[in-house]
Symmetry: D3
Subunit: 254 residues, 6 copies
Amino acid sequence: MSQLRLNQLTWREVRQAGERGIALLPIGSQEQHSSHLPMGTDTLLVEAVVDRALDLLAQEASGPDVVRLPALPFGHSPHHLFAAAVSLSAATLGAVLDDVLDSLVTSGHHRIMVVNGHGGNDEIMRLAVKRLALRAEVSVAACSYWTITSGDDDGGRPDVTPGHAGWFETSLMLAARPDLVRRPVPARTPVVPPPLFDQPPYPGLTVERHGEWARVGGSTDDPSGADAARGRALLDDRARGLARAIQAFHAATR
Amino acid sequence: MSQLRLNQLTWREVRQAGERGIALLPIGSQEQHSSHLPMGTDTLLVEAVVDRALDLLAQEASGPDVVRLPALPFGHSPHHLFAAAVSLSAATLGAVLDDVLDSLVTSGHHRIMVVNGHGGNDEIMRLAVKRLALRAEVSVAACSYWTITSGDDDGGRPDVTPGHAGWFETSLMLAARPDLVRRPVPARTPVVPPPLFDQPPYPGLTVERHGEWARVGGSTDDPSGADAARGRALLDDRARGLARAIQAFHAATR
Amino acid sequence: MSQLRLNQLTWREVRQAGERGIALLPIGSQEQHSSHLPMGTDTLLVEAVVDRALDLLAQEASGPDVVRLPALPFGHSPHHLFAAAVSLSAATLGAVLDDVLDSLVTSGHHRIMVVNGHGGNDEIMRLAVKRLALRAEVSVAACSYWTITSGDDDGGRPDVTPGHAGWFETSLMLAARPDLVRRPVPARTPVVPPPLFDQPPYPGLTVERHGEWARVGGSTDDPSGADAARGRALLDDRARGLARAIQAFHAATR
Amino acid sequence: MSQLRLNQLTWREVRQAGERGIALLPIGSQEQHSSHLPMGTDTLLVEAVVDRALDLLAQEASGPDVVRLPALPFGHSPHHLFAAAVSLSAATLGAVLDDVLDSLVTSGHHRIMVVNGHGGNDEIMRLAVKRLALRAEVSVAACSYWTITSGDDDGGRPDVTPGHAGWFETSLMLAARPDLVRRPVPARTPVVPPPLFDQPPYPGLTVERHGEWARVGGSTDDPSGADAARGRALLDDRARGLARAIQAFHAATR
Amino acid sequence: MSQLRLNQLTWREVRQAGERGIALLPIGSQEQHSSHLPMGTDTLLVEAVVDRALDLLAQEASGPDVVRLPALPFGHSPHHLFAAAVSLSAATLGAVLDDVLDSLVTSGHHRIMVVNGHGGNDEIMRLAVKRLALRAEVSVAACSYWTITSGDDDGGRPDVTPGHAGWFETSLMLAARPDLVRRPVPARTPVVPPPLFDQPPYPGLTVERHGEWARVGGSTDDPSGADAARGRALLDDRARGLARAIQAFHAATR
Amino acid sequence: MSQLRLNQLTWREVRQAGERGIALLPIGSQEQHSSHLPMGTDTLLVEAVVDRALDLLAQEASGPDVVRLPALPFGHSPHHLFAAAVSLSAATLGAVLDDVLDSLVTSGHHRIMVVNGHGGNDEIMRLAVKRLALRAEVSVAACSYWTITSGDDDGGRPDVTPGHAGWFETSLMLAARPDLVRRPVPARTPVVPPPLFDQPPYPGLTVERHGEWARVGGSTDDPSGADAARGRALLDDRARGLARAIQAFHAATR
């Protein structure tokens, strides 16, 4: 298969790839990630996973051409504006996704995948892909990168994955962009009670309480044990998972 | 605790209950449920679970006053319009939830819970409760009734729960409103390949394909083995689970 | 004719009824009704009138099949939020009506009637039915229940009909749901000057003054003379009127 | 009192008049008025009534200063686009009214009146003035010119008032702008059945049927008996009525 | 050619003119113009230029029929609300233009021109005409009147054209509507630093600073040297320019 | 001064820089650029100019800290969808800019600059910065990169600057990203008549004709004479111009 970057293609190449290929849109965020991780963490990580997955696919004999779009660097992060964020409202992000997806269809694409790097984008992304499949004759897939695993043991800690600015994200950043992680990574004292959005009072219940993110200091768990080696393993696992998911989506909708 | 119905209260009683109580809004749908279940299945079931849970709570010595709102009978069901549905767009349903939640806050409520009966409402409900907690000083909870279990063995089949118009919903309807289930419940021949929205080609991936609901005939799994006794057990289990979830939300936000 | 409830029909029955029948949507409100009537008064009354009218029609040899939808329990009541209400904005209520009406058309209905229980919904309902008739090949009717009379003497007092939480609504509630009327019904001292929205300074003029509903205490006229017997007569009159209106709409658009 | 035109005032004069005066906005339409009346009939007539009323008020010793805005020449006329119209959607017209009314409040006005010349604007105007009174500390009035009579005998024919492009409007145009009425005024053969929007099948029922305006040829009744003298009497009556309504609004909200 | 006024035409005449003619919509504003010019200055001036241009065209043997619409008297003036204005938001003005332009197309027009009298409308007008040409098979032109010159020497001062309530607009008003210019025209002391929106710190840069219009007193340059004779020359020049522009648009899109 | 990248900063660093620095947002497009330039040309070029300008500023002793945001890779390109584009509607792009600008203000920034790489974004950007300055206490600047020159002779051809996919953009791409320019650059036969959007029939007139971009083949002028050396000079000139513009904005709003 070929790995193509939409921004580097001419329009005829885009049209040609659209006939059989898969268009892939990464979406991220710019938002506070505690005092040790950069604002762009989610965008950097989803791009890291996507690019590694595409590298893996490029080594395979068969598979779809993938046209990777530039990542949308901004997501839905109103809950981080108490500190700092560049946040699109849910309506705006939904409109951006509608417009981007419609453009791809108008430009000849029939199969599209959105890969997400930020929890706050999740529902908006799901609604957008459902809307698209109702109004256009397409197949469209969506996932958040941390949920797509290879199925092998990745040495991870499911209890703090993905969390926010905690063990998981810090480990991945130590692997992907160590230069952007401020050291020493500060320890986080447990907050009592823990944030209701992260640890709801009953299984299956979503609870949102006003001011909760500020109360707990902007992160969900202690990042101080984060580890570059384990971060590399986790990152590789997601890349392998995503490569397989792309192949599976290709096979199911070919 | 008291179980109160908002539509039967005077406005002073609403204000009074708002100080310490929990307002509870059930939301459902009107949409095709194959040839044997009625359009209002989701609304009927979420109301059945909510009312049983409130009956359980009413027997307890302590606990919150719960002000139950009339159910919103219409949900987001554009994928069922190929057959028949009364569907609100995602934007409309989001606006309804915003307006209802804001009204409750303006009328003095600080704690609100939304209980959902239809899968298609899920993301919209989650976005609405997140938005509310950002703009108002409230605690707000949300769940879909089938995900709130007691934790005990309920004799269920997780592989087909909730599904759509299949074993789970048919069993519950045989328990809750047997008069509305057309007999004999028809057997459903497996559709090959199964619908991508229900059985994605890779774990963690959401896939939507145009025309998929019509292709598979409007249901996800075979309802013919549905059983009233197991339906009663499942329904009781959700009611017990929801009663406990309300108590837990009360305790966490008191 | 048959009286059918959409929420109890299967989708094929909905489609079948849509060919020749009339879909009927009641809309109401949840809003303060002074200290003696419940929040849901408007919804309860419009449902009482609709259901009695449908009972009358069911006894007739000829006439249309009527598919009654679940009532929309929430309306446009921003002027009652000073006390308590669950209010949809005009834009939201308009969107709900658009979506519901479009869904009915998509599901095969050609003739639709909206019956309203709350004055504040009136303009929004009219705009919605006009919009629908422009974009779809349908006939659509709308009315507020208190304006549809049999034409016979109903013993009513036109000067205080419908009013709000006054003689008319209290009499009807004493007939329809006496258990929900708090006794004794309190006398209302005349407010001077009377509310401009109810008694404009010149005939034909609409006047809205900020804070007027709060200034006059949330009602328009003295409910203390309300009477169950006269309420029954008024209710029966509206039910007979609505039954005839449905027959007339049927005959005109058949 | 003074009669002032907002477009001719400096901003300081606008602010000064806003303290005690009444701002008055005429709204009209541009839409087909059969083959003998011009597109601007509604705007021309509402301006004629308003200007005559203001002339009458200018002769009185006491009364409010009235700041007359330029008329909004476009209204909500989608039902006339089958022939020709310049129509704003209901949402657009509502937004225009919101913006104009908010601007007046921001510029210092506390009392505002909207005078309407086109039936299709009615509900939108009413909703706009209600919204304004909820969000701003103002008194705001609204009317359609044909409903504001002096109360004296005006020689009118209530059965065809206002109608559309029929006896009433043609008579008024023969009085106000005879140069714009094409002669001979054509007779109109009765359409059978008459349009449901004008003659509903049951009193109190609103009925809209797709294509009805085109079916009946764009007018409601026979204009051929229209008469300039009676038009003058009708016009004068509305002017007197409006002058009195302005005085009454002034007295009630002073 | 003929000069036609849409509000005076019957609908059949509008349709007929639409086949070959050009529809022309003037748009203006109501906003503070310092202490010596009226609120309606922009609308009055654009109408003066348009009507003179149409008079010039009417004297020519050949050329298009022009159907002049009533001017939209309100524009986008939020920056003048610190003093007084009747302002439409950018979204509302865009919606008005969309609706008016769509109506013209639906009523049979293929060629449309918008002539603007207010700087704040410029971007909104450009976006509207671009949108229209994408969704309808039309040719559509737009300009602000001060930018359309004859090309001859008009004795103007480009450094203060158009400015706001300064030398240019005051001169034109002294020519077009001297009765509405308050005398003596007050001298304006230079404001230091000059307003950033009028004199940006670097060529090609747009700079907007909060509160700038209030800081500089609502005008851009000294109007005290304004002159009726030069105003007449400038006005005639724009009228000649616009007449030629209409001819050129006609020739290019015939 | 420092050159900072928002996506690499922690939130505390963003807040700190916001106090005195300038936030800079590049916006671009993904759209057809004829057969020899890539879809991302506008984004690549605006980023090239911005990054060179920031490099120049970094060498200076004094000046503002500039916090560069990730470029928005998508713009308003509906006119290029006939071939291929990823286009946001004007409403969506306006909402994105509103949200991004509001986020920056909420996160502590007082001075913001938007630098644009695509003509179709221009009006939307201007409206957005005007809106922001009205609702927030900020100074905000905007420009399109090709209009910001050093004032020195840059060897350019103003008649074809910027054009679309012609001499100017091709020369710049040969300088900035020669690897992405397909060779040989094809010659473009003159299209007769030339596109009305690029060469209006009268100076100062904007004319948009349906289907014009497709008719002229998607570009405005002949790129075959494009030259890398002259492209470097043009690029350096814009970079110097932008660096000076940033300094001037800093000085004027400090």
